[in-house]
């Protein structure tokens, strides 16, 4: 029964979202208050129905109802209870249901927090979100129904993919989806503004907190994914320029550009059309990402099984969304008033650099990701684009971005003098030079990239700290420090930390793949790894060989590392569980390859990864900055007023 009720709930949700897409829109057109009010109610009902479907699917997992095909494929009787909760989003159908649940949640949040907005506008925004839901629910019901039955039911299920039986996997997809789906809100605001034909600075103020929250969660989701890949895939990499990673990175790049262009539009009214376009692009790229992941057109470590109908459906959806919103944009945007002008040296021009560079990076990633598809479609052979393409271009394009960033923070709107700006930069510049010199001295083989990277990081961090200091010392209008500025400082400082990580982690890392028998020692990067042998171990649904390595440095014991090689019983899949000793300065990382010969010898991978934690630490700073920016009082005030009104 559970599955059937779930299906009915989803169908009802589809009807409700159709209603939400039509009635409030008609109400807004005819200024009919009652019809517009239904949007908020619709958001509630829609959320409750999708939540019901989600809870029912979860209970099918908990109760081990293997007559539901999705449960039978992604769970079995030995699966620990906590993984039965997360198995819900362990494969295609369920992760789409999670996606829809999050979309319903965002829609409800918009309905709840936007009561102070003009009724017509609010109704239009919710109607657009209703249409987004219609598309996704159709997709779920038509191609990816999680409630399908299988008859006769199997005695036991297959297993949840062992890669996903991991704590990191519990939070990575929901966070990522929060970001992905969150961009539907700025998208809906943009489309609503185009439909109503008015983009005011007030409009940007309404949109900004939503963009900040979505961006913050996408940042966190990407960082979690990278961290998970690092310890779970067992080969010490943390970013592979894999098509699926690129698919999630592109909305992030455009989202970052959007945040900055919104700042300009709110302050001076410039970049208005560009802001609209970015809001459309961020959500379109989220959909493109879904298409790339779900259609199976790309070879990727993330690729789920392919299904052409799913790919076609999303492609059609993508065409409707992108085509429709761009058409609307081309009809309406030219009518909107242009913003005010600005001088060559001003905060606007520096933020224009930011936007251009981010857009170019995004175009570069898009080209590298889609090029193999184009070549294949033209029948010119099957190719792939190697990671060096992305790595080189990303590094090159970071240069203008990092150089311009502190200038943009210090520059005034409208017009500034280069001389004034540069005198303010003397301390960050000194910090950059010193940090670069120290790096060149410290690295055994100093290259241009790590030295420039660390110098750039110091430039960012010093400038990020110099800005609040200047503001706190300032008098009169200059004094004071808003939450918004604290958020900006945090995020920019985080970018600096991140930059240290990406500059140093790869060039200074050491790795070795060796054969080790019990008692063997191996020295790497000043650390001695001694292999004590392996022992057998039983987990709830796997058996494992656990190796033991004593790590010492200069004769002093550092740590003991116990990597595992697991064999999951049900499907006899083999999984590597790396053992990591984390640290701000360096990670020690050991993973087991395979047993060799009869003397207990194993193929072993040893890694030393300096500064790799900084990559994720920096991302956490950016996440915190994004959330803080959204909680600025200026935004809250409007909701308080709204509640009182």
């Amino acid at each position: 029964m559970i599955a059937e009720i779930g299906q009915v709930a989803l169908l009802s949700a589809l009807l409700v979202s159709l209603f939400m897409g039509i009635v409030p829109l008609l109400g807004a057109r005819g200024r009919h208050a009652g019809m517009m009010m239904t949007a908020g109610t619709g958001a509630w009902v829609h959320f409750i129905l999708v939540l019901l479907a989600y809870v029912l699917l979860t209970s099918a997992f908990l109760l081990q109802d293997f007559s539901v095909e999705y449960v039978a494929r992604n769970s079995n009787s030995q699966l620990p209870v906590h993984y039965r909760f997360t198995a819900v989003w362990g494969a295609h159908e369920g992760s789409l249901l999670l996606w829809q649940l999050i979309l319903a949640g965002w829609t409800l949040a918009v309905a709840g927090f936007s009561r102070s907005l003009p009724a017509e506008f609010r109704a239009t925004v919710l109607a657009v979100l209703g249409w987004v839901s219609v598309g996704f629910l159709l997709f779920i019901l038509y191609t990816s129904n999680p409630f399908g039955r299988i008859l006769p039911p199997p005695v036991d299920g297959r297993d949840l993919n062992p890669l996903l039986q991991d704590p990191g996997m519990i939070i990575h997809p929901p966070m990522l989806y929060m970001g992905y789906v969150g961009f539907a809100v700025p998208f809906a605001f943009a489309v609503a503004a185009l439909l109503r034909g008015e983009v005011t600075r007030q409009w940007v103020r309404w949109t900004r907190p939503w963009t900040h929250v979505a961006w913050a969660f996408l940042t966190l989701g990407l960082a979690l994914g990278s961290w998970w890949a690092y310890y779970e895939l067992g080969w010490g990499g943390w970013w592979f320029w894999d098509p699926v990673e690129n698919a999630a990175f592109m909305p992030w790049l455009v989202g970052t550009a959007l945040i900055h262009s919104q700042a300009v539009t709110e302050k001076t009214g410039a970049f208005r059309n560009w802001t609209l376009l970015l809001a459309i692009a961020a959500f379109s790229l989220s959909l493109l990402g879904t298409f790339l992941v779900r259609s199976g057109v790309l070879t990727s470590v993330h690729a789920f099984a392919s299904d052409p109908t799913r790919g076609l459906f999303i492609l059609a959806y993508l065409v409707v969304v992108v085509g429709g919103s761009l058409t609307l944009f081309s009809f309406r945007a030219p009518k909107m008033m242009m913003g005010s002008g600005f001088a060559g040296v001003s905060r606007e021009s520096l933020l224009l650099v930011n936007n251009l560079v981010l857009a170019v990076i995004c175009a570069m990633v898009l080209l590298g990701t889609l090029y193999p598809l184009l070549v294949d479609a033209m029948g010119a052979g099957k190719i792939s684009v190697g990671p060096p393409y992305f790595a080189l271009l990303f590094a090159l394009l970071l240069v203008p971005l990092v150089m311009a960033l502190p200038l943009g923070v210090f520059a005034r709107f409208k017009r500034d003098r280069l001389g004034r700006l540069l005198t303010q930069m003397r301390w960050p510049l000194a910090a950059a030079l010193i940090a670069g010199a120290l790096t060149a001295w410290w690295l055994p083989e100093p290259g241009l990239a790590p030295v420039a990277g660390v110098a750039g990081a110091a430039w960012l961090m010093a400038a990020s700290l110099a800005w609040p200091l200047k503001r706190l010392r300032g008098r009169g209008q200059q004094a004071g420090f808003t939450l918004q500025e604290t958020a900006m400082t945090l995020a920019h400082f985080g970018l600096g930390i991140f930059l240290v990580g990406i500059s140093l982690a790869n060039v200074t890392s050491a790795e070795k793949h060796v054969r080790m028998a019990p008692g063997d020692r191996f020295e790497l990067g000043g650390y001695t790894f001694e292999f004590a042998g392996t022992r057998s171990l039983q987990g709830p649904n796997y058996s494992a060989d656990e190796g033991e390595f004593a790590v010492s440095r200069d004769g002093e014991h550092v740590t003991r590392l116990r990597p595992q090689k697991r064999r999951y019983l049900r499907e006899s899949q083999v999984m590597t569980e790396a053992a990591i000793d984390p640290g701000l300065g360096r990670d020690l990382y050991v993973s087991l390859g395979e047993p060799l010969g009869d003397d207990g010898a194993w193929a072993v991978s040893l890694y030393i990864k300096p500064f790799v934690r900084w990559v994720w630490l920096g991302s956490l700073f950016m996440f915190a900055g994004g959330l803080l920016a959204a909680s600025d009082r200026r935004y809250r005030k409007s909701t308080v007023n709204g509640a009182a009104a």
Partner: protein, 155 residues
């Protein structure tokens, strides 16, 4: 020229030149990092210059995997049912690497006709066949090629 227009013109020129340079570097870098996917039949049919990097994919031939006694060097054969290419790899194989399974390797052919792989990829889902490999097998008439939606995990 009016100073405002002049300033705008300069701005536009700077942007166009900047984006143009970025585009040129992008295209150059793309051409440098393009890796072709080549099947064992292709390797046999064409004279590939030794040392040129590409990706080789197919099934690991049953009974072909052998390891050196000391160290980690491993050799195996990749087949698409119609032709075979011997592969040498020095390192740790992925968990899902096994005989009869689809793999993609990246590397270059040596003068001796042995493909030296720098990277071996097997997919994280046991029932998942890389689309390139599936198509290569289909073209070579191998039964594991199946249909296009092979391996959606619902057996």
């Amino acid at each position: 020229m009016h100073p405002v227009r002049k300033r705008r013109l300069i701005g536009v020129i700077v942007i166009v030149v900047g984006v143009g340079i970025a585009a040129a570097i992008t295209m150059w870098s793309l051409s440098q990092n393009m890796l072709y996917f080549i099947t064992p039949s292709d390797v046999q049919a064409q004279e590939l210059p030794p040392g040129r990097a590409f990706r080789l994919g197919g099934l690991v031939e049953d009974g072909s995997v052998s390891r050196a006694d000391d160290g980690l060097q491993v050799t195996f054969t990749i087949t698409d049912g119609a032709a075979m290419v011997p592969v040498r790899f020095d390192g740790i194989l992925p968990d899902l690497f096994r005989e009869g399974q689809g793999v993609i390797t990246r590397g270059a052919l040596g003068a001796d006709g042995v493909f030296t792989a720098t990277e071996v990829l097997a997919k994280h889902d046991e029932n998942y066949m890389p689309p390139e490999v599936a198509e290569a097998l289909r073209e070579a008439g191998h039964p594991m090629g199946g249909t296009a939606d092979e391996g959606d995990g619902s057996d």
